[in-house]
Amino acid sequence: MTTPLLQITNLRAGLAGPPPVEILKGISLTIHPGEVHAIMGPNGSGKSTLSKVAAGHPDYTVTGGDVVFMGESLLGMEPDARARKGLFLGFQYPVEIPGVSNAEFLRIAGNARRRERGEEELDPFDFQELLDQHMKNLDMDARFKERGVNEGFSGGEKKRNEILQMAVLDPALAILDETDSGLDVDALKIVSKGINALRRPDNAVLLITHYQRLLDYVQPDFVHILMNGKILKSGDKSLALEVETRGYDWLVA
């Protein structure tokens, strides 16, 4: 068996307070290269918290367990170092950063990642070409390059921009937090195509979603149900279908 890409063991995390609030109450999850995992769960169960803790968000404190990514513990690693190592978080609510050009930001980010991998940085012209290609694949208008990062983007446009960033950064593990929410039917297809195009035997995807529909396009190998800070059940794709029809209540009963 290959070494896991991500190994979360008994992770406890939450808000430092006061008062301290535990949100993740002992989560274990292992993701191997080549796999697609999906996490589903009711609102407020801790899905976004898990993704942000993995990315190193300063709002959260880890009180127990470990998160090991490509053989190295992420705890104690700065968020930017995690990203350069190959961890990508597609935000549920991407922030707007007026005044920072989307293209400029993407180029700096892309080159930081390339440096980390020992690859040569792209000059602005080569980068333009790469960016144009990715944007074409995602059916994004060229004017999004010149706008501020997410500035005035519609909900769906923001999600598409997250996938564009993912494409530029070419991460080893992408955690996509409700990237499908807010996408119209066609956009969902395009975004799914974008995700699938990036799949390789040496990388992996963790999808956080409320809807079975995304999983029709990006087929998961494993589905986990997160409730109240714990993974209550794991299974294959059929578990997602079951949730779609039965909801979550039966799991706690």
Binding site: F91, V95, P98, A112, V149
Partner: protein
């Protein structure tokens, strides 16, 4: 210590206030008036001196100088000129007319002058100038300081329907140098003027810009500063006739231990005028910044649209930022807003950039740049590239 007789504080400071007018300056101003043969110039200097005399050197606690060090202010304003003729350097565009002689148009400007250093600049300026701009003129004016003092007084007239641009450059040769300038801009009906002001990186500098806008005139103004020992720009604009519009912005960095002071007085004197003020200052270290802005809406100035925003980015604990936004409205049908913000870079935005692999320094640079951008984007990128680089340099991060 039994005899600590308390000195009674005057109930009304103004009533008992004796203007501080240095005797040596009085003599210099007088001899300057006598020396010059032109009656018009003599008249200008006399009027300016009378105005200065009624105010004197601004004292500690003066409302318009509340954030400025009064010791520094007194130190430089009391300096004597060294007799060198320091004239403003005006780039020779072909169509502009520069007059050495001055006309009586100055009188009303000076009589209304409420800024003491500005009045003193006009009283002492060895070479007051009038510039008549023509359509499409692009003029660069260098206002240089001197180790003693250098006073400049300028008047720029933009004729009706002309469109022109001027850039003022304050230059100080050394850390102890001082430049004190007053510039009056008069925009005729339908005229458009783009003004950019860039300040010296060191020394003491006081600049007052008075602006007078007639019907449908449009003034776009950008001040760029990296602060200095004493750097104060005061903008006093009057929208005199309907349809006039003002867009005034500032991008500044109080670099190191520098000070940067912005003083804004915008008067809506007629109905249907628009004014926008957006001033942004970054205080990266132990520097100090103040932004003091008031919008006056006169009775009868209906349908005024005035917006004012004074924003500070305070990046360290040692820095200090003061903002005083104010609206004084005497008309009822108006749309006015004002506000001031002070804060660090937005943590959510910063985390977003970090989560894409940008290091903290780069993230801060982008966010700081973005903060200043909103002010800088008043003019096209090419026009502000130098300013941008200078500002980023002052924050201590390289501009990209």
């Amino acid at each position: 210590m039994t005899e600590t007789a308390a000195i009674p504080t005057p109930f009304n400071m103004r009533a008992t206030h004796v203007p501080d007018v240095p005797e040596t300056l009085r003599r210099v101003a007088e001899s300057l008036r006598k020396a010059h043969p032109s009656p018009a110039l003599r008249e200008l200097r006399e009027a300016a001196w009378t105005v200065f005399e009624s105010m004197g050197v601004p004292q500690n606690g003066h409302e318009d100088f509340s954030f400025v060090s009064s010791a520094d202010l007194k130190g430089v304003l009391n300096r004597l000129p060294d007799g060198k003729l320091l004239a403003p350097e005006i780039s020779s565009a072909t169509t502009i007319g520069v007059r050495d002689e001055v006309d009586s148009g100055w009188m009303e400007l000076l009589k209304a002058e409420s800024d003491a250093p500005a009045a003193l600049a006009a009283a002492l300026a060895p070479a007051p100038r009038e510039i008549a701009l023509a359509d499409k003129d692009q003029v660069r004016v260098v206002l240089a300081g001197s180790l003693a003092r250098a006073d400049h007084a300028l008047r720029l007239d933009v004729p009706a329907h002309a469109k022109a641009s001027v850039s003022f450059v304050l230059e100080n040769p050394e850390a102890q140098a001082f430049v004190n300038a007053v510039v009056y801009l008069r925009l005729g009906a339908g005229a458009t003027l783009d003004v950019s002001v860039s300040e010296a990186a060191q020394g003491f500098q006081l600049l007052k810009i008075g602006a007078d806008l007639r019907r449908d005139a449009q003034l776009n103004l950008l001040t760029v500063s990296t602060g200095s020992r004493l750097a104060r720009v005061s903008i006093d604009a009057a929208l005199r006739e309907p349809g006039a519009s003002l867009d005034a912005r500032g991008a500044a960095v109080a670099a190191g231990a520098n000070r940067s002071h912005r003083h804004l007085r915008i008067r809506h004197a007629a109905p249907d005028c628009v004014s926008k003020q957006l001033f942004k200052t970054v205080v990266p270290g132990p520097g100090r910044s103040s932004m003091d802005g008031t919008v006056f809406v006169d009775p009868g100035a209906q349908r005024t649209d005035a917006r004012q925003l004074l924003q500070h980015l305070l990046l360290s604990k040692e820095g200090r930022a003061d903002a005083k936004p104010r609206l004084l409205i005497h008309a009822d049908d108006v749309k006015c807003s004002h506000g001031a913000t002070v804060g660090k870079t937005d943590p959510a935005q910063k985390f977003y950039l970090l989560s894409r692999g940008l290091d903290a320094r780069t993230a801060d640079r982008l966010l700081t740049q973005a903060f200043l951008n909103e002010a800088l984007e008043i003019f096209p990128d090419e026009a502000t590239a130098d300013a941008r680089a200078r500002l980023m340099d002052a924050i201590g991060v390289e501009a990209k």
